[in-house]
């Protein structure tokens, strides 16, 4: 069964460093998302991406964040200058072979720790 994959599974970085989190969505899906979950808190929406552009972003997704689909398979989230409060589990999701607002399938997540 097709699934969303994410790399790395864990990332430790120093404050101020750039990190790139990678995701491979399900093939033929058209809509891509990033969410994050700070330890012990609810899952929060960061950004949605469709047709090679951001379709929606949350207040969390400030200028330090960017997303890219550099080729036909990868979907990346870049944090330019990490802060302590960026420590969280980051989930990629994809949906929509035919339309949006369908089931979103999540990857296993990348646990980011900023020291």
């Amino acid at each position: 069964e097709p699934e969303v994959t994410q790399t790395p599974s864990h990332q430790v970085t120093q404050m101020g460093q750039e990190v790139i989190l990678r995701c491979v969505p399900i093939s033929n899906h058209l809509y891509f998302y990033w969410y994050r979950q700070i330890l012990g808190q609810k899952v929060e929406f960061l950004v949605s991406f469709y047709n090679n552009e951001i379709s929606e972003k949350s207040e969390i997704f400030d200028d330090q964040f960017s997303v890219e689909r550099p080729d036909g398979s990868n979907f990346t989230l870049k944090i330019r200058s990490t802060k302590l409060e960026d420590s969280a589990m980051y989930f990629c999701a994809s949906s929509g072979r035919t339309s949006h607002r369908e089931t979103q399938y999540f990857g296993p997540g990348t646990r980011l720790l900023v020291l």
Binding site: Y31, Y33, K42, V43, S95
Partner: protein
């Protein structure tokens, strides 16, 4: 803003018993989805129910939706120890994003 709240926050039951989790939200929705998360792991999609549906079944799962009360429930029948996890509802309104609730931690004792 739209927000899902689950209750109870935590639920402990014995294997074989049924587990019922509730979710409330604040604004109109297109659909509501339930997800499961094992400790520190990814989110697994369980079931999606549309705003024009009232009930849906999938295996041992039964989901209801009451749009007049802006609430949904997830029933797991004949629970197993392997059902131990956190369960989240998530709503979709007129945009794509999922708005997650706070979750219910379910513990099923063998």
């Amino acid at each position: 803003s739209q927000q899902g709240e689950e209750d109870p926050q935590a639920l402990s039951i014995q294997e074989g018993e049924n587990a019922t989790m509730n979710c409330s939200y604040k604004t109109s929705i297109n659909n509501l989805q339930w997800y499961r998360q094992n400790s520190g792991r990814g989110l697994v999609h369980l079931i999606l129910i549309r705003s024009n549906e009232r009930e849906k079944h999938s295996g041992r799962l039964r989901v209801t939706l009451d749009t007049s009360k802006k609430s949904s429930s997830l029933l797991i029948t004949a629970s197993r120890a392997a059902d131990t996890a956190s369960y989240f509802c998530a709503t979709v309104s007129n945009t794509d994003k999922l708005i997650f609730g706070t979750g219910t931690r379910l513990q099923v004792f063998p």
